[in-house]
Point group: none
Chain length 533, copies 2
C-alpha cells in the first residue's frame, strides 16, 4: 500500500474556527493525543504571530513525541529584507520545532494587487526562506497558498513559485485551495499537470529529485474531502487536515473522514489498523476539548453513522450488515446502533465491579440489571467514564452497599444583584449525620461556590479534618442539548483531589444547581467514605 503522510493542523487552522480557542496547555494535550494516533506532522501554530503559540512550543520541548514531528508554521520572509533578519523566520528557529511549514504566495493577483509586491521579489522570498531553513537543519514544508487559484490565473508563474521551493530543497510542496472554491475533477487535473511539470524538470536535470506533493483544502464548496482524495489519486502523498474538519469559514478537510476513505476504500497506508480504531475516540476528545457539540451525522465516527431507524433497514441489517452499511463500523471504533441488547457492556461492568471489590454473586445482583440501569442513566446524559467517583457510589447503591455519610435536609441559595454591583450569593444548608442536625450558612463566588462552602462548614462539625486536604481542582459544565436554550440539560463534572488521589463526580439536570449538588455531594461522600476506612 502506498504510504500517506498525515499533517494535522487542528492546533493552527482548527483554532481559526469561529468558536474555538485553545490555551497552550490544552494544545499540548491534543498534540500528545495526535502523537498517539501516529499522525506524522503536528502543526502547533505560528510562534511569530502570538505569545500563546510560542508558549505551546516551549511546553512541547519536554514530552517525548514518539511518532509525530512537531511543526512550527510561518511565512516566507518579508519583502526586501535579509532572511536572517526576519522576525517571523527567527521565531520559527527559536521554537525549536524539528519541522517548519512556511507559506508563500502563488497567485499573481495576490502578489501584485494585495501584497503590492513584484513577482520577482516574491520568488526570491520563497527561495531564500526555504534555503535558509534547510541550512538550519529543518524539515521544510512549503505551503503554496492559493495554489489552485494561481494555477488558473497564471499557470506558468504558479509553477515557477513551486519550482523555487523545490530547487531550494523543500521536503514537501503543499498545494492549497485556500479559498475552498475548487471542485474535485479540476483539482485532480491541476495536480496531475503539476506532477507532469516536475517529472519534466527532473528528466531535464533541473531538479535532483521529484518533490513530494501535499494537498491542503478548505470546505467552502462542501468538497474538501473529495478534493483531497482526488489530489491523492493524482499523486499527492501528504494530506493536510484537522480533526473533525474544524477550521475557519466552512472548515478544513476532515482527517477523521479522509483517513478511512484513503485507507479502507482506496488502498493507501495512512496508519495501522489498530490506530484506525481510535478515530472515534479522537474525534470525541477534540470536540469535547473544543467545547463543540459532536456532529451525530459525522461520516464514519458520528453517533448516527451506523444507526438504523427504518424497520426494513433494521431487519435487512440483521440478516447481513452490508445490506445498509458501507463498512464495518468497528474498523473506525464506531458501532452499529439498532436495539442493543443489555448483554453488551456486561463484561465491562463486571470488570469494573471487581475493581471496586463488588461481588455480584454474593450480593444476588445481576450484572445485566446494573447494565440496564447504567444505560438508562446514560440516555439521560450521565457519562460514567468521565466520573469514576460517581460510578463507585452508583455501584454501591445498585448493590445495596451504599452507606450515606450525611443526609441533606434542605438548602436554600439566594443570589442578589443591585444595579451595577456584582452579584452576591449566600447558601444555607441543613444536613444530618446519624440523626444529629446541623445548619450552616456561607457566602461564595456564585451559587455553587456558596453551596460548597456551606456544606463543608456543616460537615466539618461531624468530620473534623476529614476535608481539610480536599480541594476542587476542576469544574466543567457542558450543555447536553443546547436547543432548549436556558431550559437545556447540563452535565456538570467536578474533579476533586486530596494528597494522593484525584476523583471525578457528575451531575445531570436541567437545573444547574441541582446538577452541581449531585456532583458536589458525591465528591464529598466519596472522600468521607475513603477516610472512614
Amino acid at each position: 500500500m502506498k504510504p500517506i503522510f498525515l499533517y494535522d493542523t487542528t492546533l493552527r487552522d482548527g483554532t481559526q474556527c469561529e468558536n474555538i480557542s485553545f490555551s497552550a496547555r490544552v494544545k499540548l494535550k491534543v498534540a500528545l493525543m495526535l502523537d498517539d494516533l501516529c499522525i506524522h506532522f503536528i502543526d502547533g501554530g505560528w510562534p511569530g504571530s502570538n505569545p500563546r503559540d510560542m508558549h505551546f512550543f516551549n511546553l512541547a520541548k519536554d514530552p517525548e513525541f514518539k511518532n509525530a514531528k512537531i511543526t512550527a508554521f510561518g511565512a516566507t520572509r518579508k519583502p526586501h529584507i535579509n532572511v536572517e533578519d526576519d522576525a517571523n523566520i527567527k521565531a520559527l528557529l527559536s521554537s525549536a520545532a524539528p519541522c517548519v511549514a512556511i507559506f508563500g504566495k502563488t497567485w499573481d493577483f495576490h502578489v501584485k494587487d494585495i501584497m503590492k509586491n513584484s513577482e520577482k521579489e516574491n520568488l526570491s522570498m520563497i527561495s531564500e526562506s526555504v534555503s535558509f531553513l534547510k541550512a538550519n537543519d529543518k524539515t521544510v514544508i512549503y505551503d503554496a497558498e492559493h495554489f489552485f487559484d494561481g494555477f488558473r490565473s497564471n499557470k506558468e508563474y504558479a509553477l515557477e513559485t513551486l519550482f523555487c521551493a523545490a530547487k531550494s530543497c523543500a521536503d514537501f510542496l503543499v498545494l492549497c485551495d485556500t479559498n475552498g472554491g475548487w471542485l474535485p475533477f479540476d483539482i485532480e487535473k491541476a495536480v496531475l499537470d503539476t506532477t507532469v511539470f516536475f517529472n519534466k524538470k527532473y528528466s531535464s536535470g533541473e531538479l535532483a529529485k521529484i518533490p513530494e506533493i501535499g494537498i491542503h483544502t478548505h470546505n467552502d464548496s462542501g468538497m474538501a474531502g473529495a478534493n483531497t482524495i482526488s489530489a491523492v489519486r493524482a499523486g499527492a502523498t501528504m494530506v493536510h487536515g484537522t480533526i473533525n474538519g474544524y477550521g475557519e469559514r466552512c472548515g478544513n478537510a476532515d482527517l477523521i473522514s479522509i483517513i478511512p476513505v484513503l485507507q479502507l476504500k482506496m488502498g493507501y497506508d495512512c496508519m495501522s489498523t489498530k490506530n484506525l480504531k481510535k478515530l472515534q475516540k479522537c474525534s470525541r476528545f477534540v470536540s469535547e476539548i473544543a467545547n463543540m457539540i459532536p456532529a451525530n451525522n459525522r461520516p464514519f465516527v458520528g453517533k448516527s453513522a451506523f444507526a438504523h431507524k427504518g424497520g426494513i433497514h433494521v431487519s435487512a441489517v440483521m440478516k447481513n450488515p452490508s445490506a445498509y452499511e458501507h463498512i464495518d463500523p468497528e474498523k473506525v471504533g464506531n458501532s452499529r446502533r439498532v436495539l442493543i441488547s443489555d448483554l453488551s457492556g456486561k463484561s465491562n461492568v463486571e470488570y469494573k465491579g471487581r475493581e471496586l471489590g463488588i461481588d455480584f454473586d454474593s450480593k444476588k445482583v445481576k450484572s445485566s440489571d446494573i447494565v440496564s440501569k447504567i444505560k438508562s442513566l446514560e440516555e439521560d446524559g450521565f457519562q460514567f467514564d468521565l466520573a469514576d467517583g460517581s460510578f463507585k457510589i452508583l455501584m454501591e447503591k445498585l448493590t445495596k452497599q451504599f452507606k450515606p455519610l450525611f443526609e441533606l435536609k434542605s438548602f436554600m441559595v439566594t443570589i442578589i444583584k443591585e444595579k451595577d454591583r456584582a452579584c452576591t450569593s449566600q447558601a444555607t444548608i441543613k444536613i444530618s449525620v446519624e440523626g444529629k442536625e446541623k445548619i450552616t450558612v456561607a457566602e461564595g463566588h456564585g451559587p455553587v461556590s456558596a453551596l460548597d462552602n456551606a456544606l463543608r462548614k456543616a460537615l466539618n462539625k461531624f468530620y473534623p479534618d476529614f476535608l481539610e486536604k480536599t480541594s476542587l481542582v476542576d469544574f466543567k459544565v457542558r450543555v447536553i442539548d443546547g436547543r432548549e436554550g436556558t431550559n437545556a440539560k447540563v452535565r456538570l463534572i467536578i474533579e476533586s483531589r486530596d494528597e494522593d488521589e484525584i476523583w471525578s463526580t457528575i451531575g445531570v439536570s436541567e437545573d444547574l444547581i441541582e446538577a452541581s449538588w449531585q456532583a458536589l455531594s458525591d465528591s464529598l461522600q466519596y472522600k468521607l467514605s475513603k477516610e472512614k476506612k
Copy 2:
C-alpha cells in the same frame, strides 16, 4: 445552460434523520417554501407506509403549487401478486400526487440474499409497476436502490433492471448510492457507462428514447455532494437531495450546497438568480422547523461561511474580497462577517465598525483605543468572535452611542431544595424603562431560566410583542480556568434567534449567575434595539 431537475426529499429521507420528525401540517409548510424556491419535484413521503404521510397528501391537494410537482413515494409491487392488487401501489394512486417515485432492487445480493426473491421476478416487478403507474397518467420516477453496489457486483443485471424501467417508459431513472460508500471518480465512471449503455439501446432501436438519469447519494463517506456533481458531469440531469443534507445515518446530499456549485461553478441551470438568493433563508427555515441547530460552517449559507478572523485575511479582504472568498456571498443570500479576536488587529475593528455604522473619526474615538480595550477584555476571558451581539453593544458603549432600553434596579434569585425533591428556582426582578419601574417574579428550570422568564415578563410591559419571536437556541458554559474549582471563572454564551437572524452574547464572571445576567441582558437589549429601528 443545461437544465437540472431538482428533486427534494427532505419530507421523506430528511425525516429518517435521528432527531427529525414532521407533522403533516409542518410538511405542508416546508412544501410551500420549496415550491416558492422553484424546486421541481417535492417528495412528500410514503402514503402506503404511514397515515401521517397520507394526511400530508390530502392536505397538499388544496394549495396551488406553482412550480413543483408533488411526488408520492413507494416501492415496486410485492412478489407474485397482481400490480393492481398491491396495497402500496394503490396508496400511490389514491394520494392523487401527479408524480410517483418507486424504488426497486438492483443489487443481485439484495434480491437473492435479503429479499429471497428470484432475479426474474424482480424484473417483472419493476416492469409491471412502472407500466401500471404510467397507464394511470403519472409522471414516474424509478429509483434504482443500491444501483452502484449492484453495478459493482453484477453490472449486467443492474443495467437490466434499469432497462426494464426504461422500456416501461419511466420518465427518470435514478441511480442511488443507498449505503453512501461510493467515491466521486467511481460514480462518474459508472454513470458514464450507464449512459453509453442507453445510447446503444437507443441506437439499436430497443428504446424509443434515451431516458433521463437521476442521482441520489448519501453522505456516509463524506462524498454525497462530490458524488452528485460527478454524476451530473457524466450526464445525470436530475439531482436528489434534502435541505441541509438532513437524512439517516450521515445524511443525504445537501441541496443547499449542491445547487450553487452546479449553478455558479459548473454552468448548469438549477434556478433563477433571484431564487438562489433565497438559499440561506430556506436553510434556516428548515433547521428552525426541524429544531436542529444551524451548522455555522455549512458551505455557502452558514453563519461562518464568509467570516474572517485572522488579521492578514481581514486586511486582504478589505482590499479585494476575492482574496479570501470563493464567491460573492450575496449570490446565495449570505453576507461577509469579520470576527474579532486576539489574533486580529485594527483592520478587523475598523471593518466591523463600518459594518455597524460607527464613524470613528466623527466620534473622536481612536480605533487603537478600542482595540486595546477589546484586548484587555479578552485577557479577562471575553471572546467577541463568539458574541457578535455583545460586540455591537460594546462598540456602542465605547463610542458613546449606547442607548440602554432598560435598566436593572435589582434582582434576587432563590433556589430551594428539600431532601430528595428537585430544586425549585424563583427570580424576582425590578427594571426601569424611561423612569417607570416594573417588578416581576417567575419560576424556571434552574436559576438562569427563572431569571430569563422574569426579565421577559417585565420587558413585555414596556415592549409588548417585541420579544415574542425571540428564543434562545443555544447556551454554552465554559470554565476558563478550571483549577480554581467552584471559584473558577466561567464564560457563558447565549445564542438567540428571531425569524431572520441569529445573534450571540457573552458573559464572563466567577459567578455563573452574573455571567448569565450579562449575556441575557445583552441579548434582549440587542433584540429590542433592532426592533426599535
